[in-house]
Every structure is written in C-alpha cells, then in structure tokens.
C-alpha cells in the first residue's frame, strides 16, 4: 500500500516546502517594512517573529488536517467531514461543502487579482514607466495560464527551481544594505508601545504570510514522511527570515518614522544599497526583474489552485479550459481598484479575509473531524507494528 501511495504522489516534501515559501514570498515584501514600521515602530522585527509563530500554528492545523485525510482531496475532505460516512451517498456533505469551496475560489480569485495588480503598479511606477498596467497584468496571467496546462508535478518542480532564484537575491540585497546600518534607529528594542498597537502590527505582518493555506489544496498529492510537518513549517521560516532581514534593514537605514511614509520601502532600501565593485549602479530594476519570479509563483500557484478546485468540483474537464475561463475574471478583478490607495485599502480587507478563511476553515474542519471521529487521528504513518518505519521509507522513495 505504501508503494501505491507513493506512486500517486508527485510532490516531495521538499517541493511542498518550496510551494509554501514561494507562495508566501510575493508582493508582500515590497510593502511590508512600511506596514510594520507604521504600527510596531522599532519593535517591527519582533512583530515579524510573532507573525511567523502565529502562522506556524495555523500551518500545524492545516498539515494535521491533510495528514488526517491523506487520500482525500480538499473537496472530499470537506464533504467527508461534514456529511455522512463513506460508502453511502453523501449528498448532504457535498451540499454543505459547496459554500466553503465557492468562498475559497472567490477568495483565491481576488488574491490572484490583487497580487498581479500590485506588481503591475510597482513595475509601472518604478521601471516600465510607459507600459500600460493592463499589459503587465495580462502577460503575467497568460504566463500563469501556461503553467495551468501541466500536471501538478510540473508546478512542484517549478517552485523548487525558482525558490533559490527568489531567495538568494533578496538575501544578498538585505545583507548588502546593512552597509548603511545605523544602530540608533533600531533602538530601543521596545518603544513605548501599547500592546494593542503591537498586536495590530503582528496582524498586519500575518497578511504578508498569506499563501501558506494553498498546501491544503495540494495536500493529497504530497509524499508523506515523518518530517512532513517540519518541512511545511520550514516553508514558513524561509520567508520569515527574509522578512526579518528586510525589516531590520529598512528600520536601521531609514528609521521607523521615515519608513512609514515610503510607498515602496523595499525598493527604497535597494536604491540606497551599493553594489561592491560598481558593476551596476542601481539595483531596483534588476531586483524587480528577479522578483517577477516570486510574484509569478504566487499568482500562478493561486491560479493553479483555483483551476484545480473547479476541476474537482465539476469532476471533469481539462484545467486549461477552466484557466481560460478564469483569466478574464482575474484580469477584470485586478482592474477594479481605482488607484493605488484604493488597492492598499482593498488589500487590507483581503488580508482580514485571508486570515479568517486560511485559519478558520481548516481549524473548523479539524475540530469537526475530531468531534465526529473521522479520519485517522494518529496520521498515516503511525500504523501498528514494525512495518511503520518500512512504510515511511517506502513512501519517501518515489
């Protein structure tokens, strides 16, 4: 059985980690230092850590839910948890799970739209000043559409391939910007800050961690090993390290007061960064060029999840057709905010919605499963006897 399980599962746990990381890393990093500095001031980096911690807890819930129903996709999990037992016709469960799925799809659509819009805005304002916004959004969506055509293992491999391309440049830039480090800007460690203000800062940083919940959709295709949970949490740790470095860099270079009024703080950090050897004079174009990969993985993963969910709902059809249908919808949604201020407001709502949906739905399902005693409570690996270890190794190998 272990062999069968492994055969059908094209995503290794390392790839799952890459999916989590590269989905989280997106446009969030471009605005995060401002958001954090305006709420948590000098304690911004603590807020980042708290945000990472809180997200990891949600991640544990999401992973546990996935491990509880290792053979069911998300829709089957929903209907199984909410409806009657397997084997009988489960119309009730399906009926109850449809609202959840529809809300999720709608949310993913809005997220994909807002990400492509935000990136379009930053590209148009910073680099390609004469290119229309619509063209940037359109090309991004069409490139995502090309990925939707392929099977899920291609998505996993692409995320694994692009993750180093995303992580290494931003780490380098964050480290290089410490040239203009000023200690007095990050001190005191705890400014006279009300707890509620700080908590709001934490909440806002959690918006930047959105995207981890996608692992729920892919969970029945991920290889299960004993360290699955750790790999998933590592997927949150990687972006949190980047966030931490970039926020410390931002506060230490500009100070929190100034950082709070910069529109694209990360780009400003990059502008003051000097490349050793003066090979290149300014880096923000290069950074945005590389960051296309990060934004692409976020948009494309959401896009893929949307088409995968719809395909599972209808139980037929090719994903590419659903993708073709959704492309104009996302495009239209992305053009809804009138200007960048409206977009940022809009993003706040998305953030709240994301927190609610991303945390509450899996938590609700897990609690329901627990109460109704569905699924294996110990996880697929903790089966009886000495075969458990063999099984885990069998699963680990393809």
């Amino acid at each position: 059985m272990g062999k069968q399980l492994a055969d059908k599962r094209p995503i290794s746990s390392r790839q799952a980690m890459s999916i989590v990381s590269s989905t989280i890393l997106g446009v969030g990093v471009l605005t995060l230092p401002r958001v954090v500095a305006s709420e948590a001031h000098e304690a911004g980096w603590i807020a980042i850590l708290c945000g990472a911690f809180a997200t990891s807890i949600v991640m544990i819930i999401v992973t546990k839910l996935g491990l509880r129903f290792p053979h069911l996709n998300f829709i089957e999990t929903c209907s199984h948890v909410l409806g009657r037992d397997k084997g009988k016709s489960n119309k009730l469960g399906k009926l109850l799970s449809y609202p959840i799925i529809i809300i999720l799809i709608a949310y993913y659509l809005v997220v994909a739209a807002s990400i492509s819009r935000t990136f379009g805005e930053v590209v148009v304002t910073a680099v390609l000043k004469e290119t229309p916004l619509e063209v940037i959004i359109g090309t991004m969506l069409l490139t995502s559409l090309y990925l939707v055509k392929f099977d899920i293992d291609v998505l996993a491999r692409l995320n694994e391939l692009l993750l180093p391309l995303i992580v290494i440049p931003i780490l380098l830039i964050a480290l290089l910007s410490f040239q203009s480090f000023q200690l007095e800007f990050i001190l005191p460690v705890w400014p006279g800050l009300s707890l509620s203000g700080f908590l709001k800062g934490v909440l806002l940083t959690m918006f930047a961690y959105q995207g981890y919940e996608l692992i729920l959709i892919f969970s029945n295709r991920i290889q299960i090993i004993k360290k699955s949970l750790w790999f998933n949490i590592l997927g949150i740790i990687i972006p949190s390290v980047i966030y931490l470095l970039i926020v410390i860099a931002g506060i230490s270079v500009f100070g929190d007061e100034e950082l709070a009024i910069l529109m694209w703080p990360t780009l400003e950090i990059i502008k003051v960064t000097e490349v050793p050897g003066m090979i290149l004079e300014r880096l923000e174009s290069l950074f945005l060029g590389v960051w296309v990969a990060a934004v692409f993985t976020t948009t494309a993963n959401f896009f893929y999840a949307i088409t995968l969910l719809t395909q599972q709902v209808f139980g037929r059809g090719k994903r590419i057709w659903y993708g073709l249908g959704f492309t104009p919808i996302i495009f239209w949604l992305s053009l809804q905010p009138q200007n960048i201020i409206a977009l940022f407001d809009f993003q706040q709502y998305i953030g709240y919605a994301g927190l609610t949906l991303g945390a509450l739905i899996p938590a609700f399902l897990l609690i329901m499963a627990f109460i109704r005693k569905k699924g294996s409570s110990t996880g697929p690996l903790a089966t009886k006897g000495p075969s458990a270890k063999e099984k885990s190794t069998a699963i680990q190998q393809e």
Binding site: V127, L128, L158, L280, E281, L288
Partner: protein, 528 residues
C-alpha cells in the same frame, strides 16, 4: 444545418479507417507472400526468380560453378558486387567448393543434393558464419546486406555465407567533440565496429545488445546496448517498443530514430543525447542509460538524457576535480551568455540605462550616437549576420573556412562599427554570445540555446528585464514539464537531491562519488 455541422466536425468514421488500415496491411502481406516462396529444386528457376525480384540490377553477380569436379553438382553464387569481400568469395567459398573439395565428397552424397548442402556447410566452407535457409525472401534479404547465397541444383535449401566487406572509414578522432585530454578514437559508420569500440572499454559480461531493424526500405540495423543489473529494465522495454513502432521507409541517420522516439519532438531542447565518443557512451552506460547505435552513422544516441549532461564533457572526469569543476562552471556561464547576453544588452540600453555605471553609460551613448536603429534592431542585425557567418563557415571547403571567419568576424564587424551601423559594445556582445555558445560540449543543446535567444531578445525589446524574466519562466515551465522516458528533465536540480549535486554543477573527486546518479532508477545503486 445541424446535420451539416455535425458532418463537418465529425471525424472520419472509425470503421472506414479500420477498413483502410486492414486493406493496407493486407496488400503488404500479399506483397511479402509473393516473395516468400521456398526455392525450388531447379537452379535456373531460382536464379531467374532472384534476378526478377532484383530487376536485373547490374551489380548483382551470379556465378555458376561446379562443386568438387562433379559435373552433376551445379551450383550458383549470388551476391551484390561491392558489398562483399572478393577475397573471401574467391578463396574461401569458390576455392573451397571448386578445388579443395575435389575428390573429397563422400560418394553417397554426390547424388543427394539435400544432405550434401548440409555437409558442405559443416565441412566444406571456410567461412565463419553460414546459415541454411529455405526461403527466397531470406536469400534476397541476405544478399542485400552483403551475404553470398550459395544455391545448389536439385536442392530447395540454400546457404547464406557471410562475406560482408565494403569500403569503410577507419576509426578516427571525433570531429565534433574534441577534447584536450582523453581518448582520440571516435565512432564510425559501421554498427559492429561501434559496438566493438564500446565493448573494448566495458569488458562486462552483463552488457546486453538488442538488435532491431527499422525502415521498411533501408532496413537499417539498430542496436540497443545497456548493462543488465544497472539499467532500469522498464526504460529498455519502452525504448524497444518505441523503436519498433517507427513506421518509415528510410532511416538514414540516428537523428531519424531520435525524432521518432523523443517524448516531446516539438521542444527546442534535445531529450536524447548524441555523441561520437565511445568513452562518453561507456560512462553513460555505467550511469544506467542505454545507447542506441544505428548503422550508417557515427552518432550514437544516449537515452534518457537530462539537462545537466548536455554541459558535461568526458574531460571533466579526466582532469583533476578542481579543474574539472571550474571548467564546468565556466561552461555554465558561457552558455548563459549565449542565451541571455544580447537580450540583457537590449534591456539595459533601452529600458534601464540607470543601472549601467555612468562612465560606461557615456561611452556606450557615444558609441551608439551614430547608430540610426533602436538597440533591438541593432542586435537582431548583428545576431542574424553572425548566424549566417556560422552556417556559411560550416559549408565552406576546409582551407577557406577560417579565412572567411576572419573576414566575416573582423572585417565586417570593424567596418560596421566604422560605418556607424552598429555600436562597438554590440560587436562585443555578439562575439561573446557566439563564442559562448560554442563552449557547450554538445552541438544540439548549443543550437537550442542560440535559437531561444531570439524570442528572449523580442521579450527584452518589449518589456526590458521584466520581459526577459517572463520568457525565462516560460522556458523553465517547459523544462520542468519535460520527462524523457519518465525521468524529469531537470533531475537533481529539481527534484532536488543533495547527493546528485556531486556531479551536476560541479564534480566532486571521483573516489567521493560512491553512488550512481539516482534519477535513472538504477538497479545497482553503488559504484564501488
């Protein structure tokens, strides 16, 4: 109306297609049946039949002889002139049958042609490979590959004696894959020589050779070679299945086979490697891949191929590890130059001039001040020119090739700069690109990179660095989607395996590489 629509959209009914296929197969069968009749005991009839089938070709030789001086034992040798070794036929077939058998044939056999022919096979002919046959079809096929058919009057059995011998090139240094250090022998056009060259390196009894024939008219010999115990048998079966499924009249080069059995023939990236070097084939056999050797070409195919092996050269392993690793890194850099340099130039000069250091920017602007075109036009002009030069220098007769290279590269480049058509930086970019692409050890992957450079240039001309990155992502998606023989094309980079990185971007010392690469699902996983 609806009916009409249905008629247009509806494909041809399956019944009709089946019927047509059946008819085709039937006619093929009947054609073969005509040929496949047993030889009659009448010698003249047999000869005239063979002549009929071969259409009285002038290179068909029919030599009537008398065996051992017995006038009743009439025989005929049939062979194609030029495909056979004359010495072998003269001395070891005719000499044996006409002179050495004189008076040695047992008396009771002289009147019985049927047992006699078996006797001749066993104790008459001094030829290593003799097969008896009772089918005219086999006789004709044997004649076509260079055997000599011996027909005896009164017997409906014939002998096929191996007398193959034709003009062939001797083992020579490979022209397309030269190395500084390493063996100098390369494959030739003869299948058997090639398999022997591989066997000489791998004295392993577990080497298996599967022989197949492809091409309905060329009947090209194809051999699949692999090491049992290392190779994943599933891949071998799949390769055999794919080669057997080829339906074409002529296979003239291994490229035909490659294009038929590739998983994605429309991809710009090669999924099967070709090589002229026996040492390369031997090392890949040891890594759990199979070699497909095609008669008539020195290019042996290695399947399944993954991306990283296209920038690996046997030399990496022969030099010491630091040198081998450094050469490999340099090769990767030069290949990325070949892919990206012109588009980066376009992006920088037309979209992101602020990134270029100001002093260089002034120099570039001064160089470009006389150029009337936008940088993308400039780049396309130069790149296409250099491609023309490259192609022309391949076709040119040996002695003037380098001369044209100098004239084209130096004179035209210099003149173009002086005439103000292109900027000096552009000339540097173009030459680096071209030189970079030739640093790749395999020609076909270099071509694919050079080809992909043009769409990336267009993307850079439209959207700058954003365009380059989008184009690269599209290429990455495509690369991730390729799975030659079920093995991910970017194996060991993604899916990532730390242990396989020993031989991907760099190469660790050989004693440290104790395991075979994992992507190929080898049965024997350790090297030592």
């Amino acid at each position: 109306m609806v009916r009409l629509k249905r008629k247009i959209i509806k494909p041809q009914p399956i019944k009709e297609l089946k019927k047509r296929k059946f008819l085709e197969e039937y006619s093929k069968e009947s054609l073969e049946k005509v040929v496949d009749i047993p030889p009659e005991s009448n010698l003249d009839k047999n000869i005239s039949y063979v002549k009929d089938v071969m259409g009285n070709s002038s290179d068909l030789v029919v030599r009537n002889i008398i065996i051992g001086g017995h006038t009743n034992l009439k025989a005929a040798l049939i062979y194609l002139d030029g495909l056979t070794d004359n010495v072998a036929i003269d001395q070891y077939i005719m000499g044996a049958l006409m002179i050495q058998l004189n008076g040695k044939i047992p008396a009771d056999l002289t009147t019985k042609p049927e047992p006699l022919i078996d006797w001749i096979k066993d104790s008459g002919l001094i030829i290593n490979d003799v097969t008896p046959t009772e089918s005219l079809k086999e006789i004709i096929e044997a004649i076509l590959v260079g055997d000599c058919a011996i027909l005896l009057d009164g017997s409906n059995k014939a002998l096929l004696a191996n007398a193959k011998g034709w003009e062939k090139r001797s083992v020579d240094e490979p022209k397309t894959e030269s190395v500084v250090r390493g063996p100098r022998d390369g494959f030739v056009e003869t299948l058997r020589t090639n398999t022997a060259l591989i066997r000489r390196r791998l004295k392993d009894p577990n080497i298996r050779v599967i022989s197949l024939k492809t091409g309905t008219r060329t009947k090209t010999d194809v051999a699949i070679m692999y090491i049992e115990g290392i190779m994943d048998e599933k891949i071998v079966k799949e390769a055999v299945r794919r080669i057997k499924a080829i339906e074409i009249d002529g296979v003239l080069e291994s490229g035909y086979i490659e294009q038929y059995i590739e998983d994605n023939p429309l991809s710009p990236f090669p999924q099967i490697q070709n090589t002229e070097r026996p040492d390369k084939v031997a090392s890949h056999l040891l890594e759990g891949k199979l070699a497909i050797i095609v008669d008539g070409t020195p290019y042996v195919l290695i399947a399944p191929a993954i991306f990283s092996q296209f920038y690996h050269s046997p030399e990496d392993y022969y030099e010491r590890f630091l040198i081998g690793s450094m050469i490999r890194v340099i090769r990767i850099i030069s290949m990325s130059f070949a892919l990206l340099l012109p588009s980066v130039y376009i992006a920088f000069s037309s979209f992101h001039p602020e990134m270029i250091p100001s002093k260089l920017m002034i120099a570039m602007a001064a160089g470009r001040s006389t150029v009337p075109f936008p940088s993308i036009v400039e780049a396309f002009l130069m790149e296409i020119t250099i491609e023309i030069l490259r192609e022309a220098s391949v076709r040119l007769p040996g002695p003037i090739g380098p001369t044209i290279g100098i004239v084209g590269g130096l004179v035209v480049g210099q003149a173009a700069v002086e005439a103000g058509i292109v900027s000096p930086i552009m000339v540097i970019v173009v030459s680096l690109t071209t030189i970079g692409s030739f640093a790749s050890p395999s020609y076909n992957s270099a071509i694919s990179l050079r080809m992909l450079r043009f769409p990336i240039m267009v993307a850079a001309g439209l959207f700058g660095l954003y365009g380059i990155m989008l184009a690269l992502i599209l290429i990455f998606i495509h690369l991730c989607s390729l799975k030659p023989f079920g093995i991910p094309y970017l194996s060991s980079i993604t899916p990532f395996r730390l242990r396989d990185m020993q031989d991907t971007l760099i190469r660790l010392p050989i004693p440290w590489m104790k395991k075979r690469p994992t992507p190929f699902h080898t049965q024997d996983k350790t090297r030592m």
